[in-house]
């Protein structure tokens, strides 16, 4: 083995550790947004980094919140209310999901959809291929022509999440391909557009927060994405270079409060000891 190989291996390890740290920062940020007695919706997720963003970070955040300030918080994962998260399997397959112990899994998924539309969920977590200045999300298609440049998965219940959930939180990595001036297709409506604000007849206020691997955004009173904090070690220039539009930037932008030593210990030793939630 050459010296170069050893260096590369140690770089890879350092990269993984940095990624793990960023995931803990993101989970800690989200956990502070969760309130006691919230009903929180988490999707079932896919794999790799997409799983960490859609499931891992929300789950770790929800458990941190449950163990600290929100003991009455309820998680609805896919079609399962209060999955037992004390032992997350190393490898998720259909069978491990089917056999997950929990409080409630209605025989007709329409019952969950009803809870959603009735406004019973306080928080939801969103992934997206594109997010724009107003928090509109796209999971359906890339390209605005008659035919899509890239066909994505569809709509699922994301349209209902941004329409009927009180505090949707978008969790995505910062990238110019994702953070675009205007989404190609509005799968889920955020705070409107430059020409037209969010429909005043909406039954919920729209997305509350965007949590990324570099920073956190909220939305100003005109519904525009606004930089709320920068994660430790990230600069404003770094953030702006990873976006295709310039967000609202206040005169002073604080550092994202990092997780406390207690929170880090809880994540590593109690909540996600196998790393299956925050590994990617």
């Amino acid at each position: 083995m050459s010296g170069g190989g050893r260096v590369a291996a140690s770089d890879a390890r350092a990269g993984l550790e940095a990624r793990g740290r960023v995931n803990e920062v993101m989970a800690a940020v989200v956990s502070r947004e969760l309130h006691d007695d919230d009903l929180v919706f988490v999707g079932v997720g896919t794999s790799g980094r997409a799983f960490t963003l859609a499931v891992g970070i929300p789950m770790v955040a929800a458990r941190l919140a449950q163990e600290r300030h929100a003991p009455g918080l309820d998680i609805y994962w896919g079609n399962l209310l209060n999955p037992d998260l004390s032992a997350v399997p190393e490898h998720l397959s259909q069978d491990t999901i089917t056999r997950w112990p929990g409080a409630y899994a209605p025989t007709d998924i329409g019952s969950k959809v009803d809870m959603l539309v009735r406004g019973e969920f306080d928080v939801s977590f969103e992934s997206a291929a594109q997010v724009d200045r107003f928090g509109n999300c796209n999971i359906t298609r890339i390209g605005t022509g008659a035919l899509p440049d890239v066909r994505l998965v569809g709509s699922l219940a994301q349209p209902e999440h941004l329409a009927f959930v009180q505090r949707p939180i978008i969790v995505v990595d910062l990238s110019p391909r994702v953070f675009v001036e205007a989404v190609d297709f509005v799968s889920s409506a955020g705070h409107g557009t430059a020409e037209r604000p969010r429909d005043p007849a909406s039954r919920a206020p729209g997305p509350a927060l965007v949590v990324t691997d570099r920073c956190v955004f909220d939305f100003d009173d005109r519904g525009r994405m606004r930089l709320r904090s920068l994660h430790e070690g990230t600069t404003l220039e770094d953030v702006l270079s990873r976006m295709s539009f310039r967000p609202e930037v206040p005169a002073s932008v604080p550092t994202t409060p990092p997780p406390t030593d207690d929170e880090v210990r809880a994540i590593r030793h109690a909540i996600d000891p196998s790393g299956s939630l925050l590994r990617a």
Partner: protein
């Protein structure tokens, strides 16, 4: 009750070219693959699909050139990535799509189940799904609320895969299962209903727990036995997904030159479902079993 037990081929023959077909299952669970491989082998074309979260079923039929239109909430291979043939066909314009959100889709299926022409829903304001041309604004005659009328789904035929059933067409759930799907709703609103099950059991076995019967025989036109009938997807609590096979599917599907050969080997060139099970390998299938 009347005996409705048929072969897989006889059941699949109730799906005809040009039909609108509601296809059951969700994500990698209970996609009615044995029935739909038979539909593909029959050279059926010009289908219009209505699905919930669909994966292998839609991708296979599209990859076989059997589909002109799809409507639903999702098509993909879940943690195995995009549905490659579906994606390519939509990008080329070979298959048209109507995207529905979950509340609109359940309204469409519930209206069908209730026998009414539409149901009102709370509008998902500002979202692309609300721009679809078959929706109409309606005002509640009691409260004045502005709602959206969603038309009933009107499939010609509904194709589902279930756990166990009897020769009359009663289909039952196990007590433990993954319930994140709309199969019961699809069955309730069906016009022609075709069901495959993992096992045909004596009627007495079904009759002991009639509350577990989610599809009554009165609605069923044909029921057939198709063990491992959702392979390479899973039938929850019976067998797990076949991860290497779905990965092979995904690889072949991404390569337009490789896909036709893959489809021939795994569906078109096989005589029937027995030949499929032999081709996959009975030992391999048994290793996917997860017990009741």
């Amino acid at each position: 009750m009347r005996r409705k037990l048929t072969s897989i081929a006889e059941a699949a023959a109730l799906v005809r070219s040009g039909d609108t077909v509601a296809v059951g299952g969700s994500l990698l669970r209970r996609q009615p693959m044995a029935l739909l491989r038979e539909v593909a082998r029959a050279g059926t074309t010009d289908l219009s699909l209505i699905t919930w979260a669909s994966s292998l079923a839609t991708d296979m039929l599209v990859g076989a050139g059997a589909v002109r239109h799809w409507e639903g909430i999702y098509v993909g291979l879940w943690w195995h990535g995009a549905a490659p043939s579906f994606r390519r066909a939509v990008e080329r314009g070979a298959v048209t799509v109507v995207d529905r959100s979950e509340s609109y889709m359940t309204a469409r299926l519930r209206a069908a189940a209730m026998g009414v022409p539409f149901l009102p829903v709370r509008p998902v304001l500002g979202a692309g799904v609300s721009e679809v041309g078959d929706l109409r604004g309606v005002v509640c005659p009691f409260t004045g609320d502005e709602l959206l009328a969603v038309p009933a789904a009107t499939p010609d035929v509904t194709v589902l895969h279930g756990y166990v059933g009897d020769e009359y067409g009663n289909v039952a759930w196990p007590a433990q299962r993954d319930s994140d799907d709309v199969d019961m709703l699809m069955a309730a609103g069906s016009r022609r209903l075709v069901v495959s099950v993992e096992r045909i059991v004596p009627h007495e076995e079904i009759a002991r727990t009639p509350n577990l019967t989610y599809i009554p025989h009165t609605k069923v036109d044909a029921i057939c036995e198709a063990p491992f009938g959702a392979h390479p997807g899973s039938c929850d609590t019976v067998y797990d997904e076949d991860e290497p096979e779905i990965a092979a599917w995904s690889r072949a599907g991404r390569d337009p030159d490789a896909w036709p050969g893959y489809l021939e080997r795994t569906a078109l060139d096989l005589a029937d479902h027995d030949a499929y099970l032999d081709a996959v390998g009975r030992d391999r299938l048994e290793r996917l079993a997860v017990g009741a």
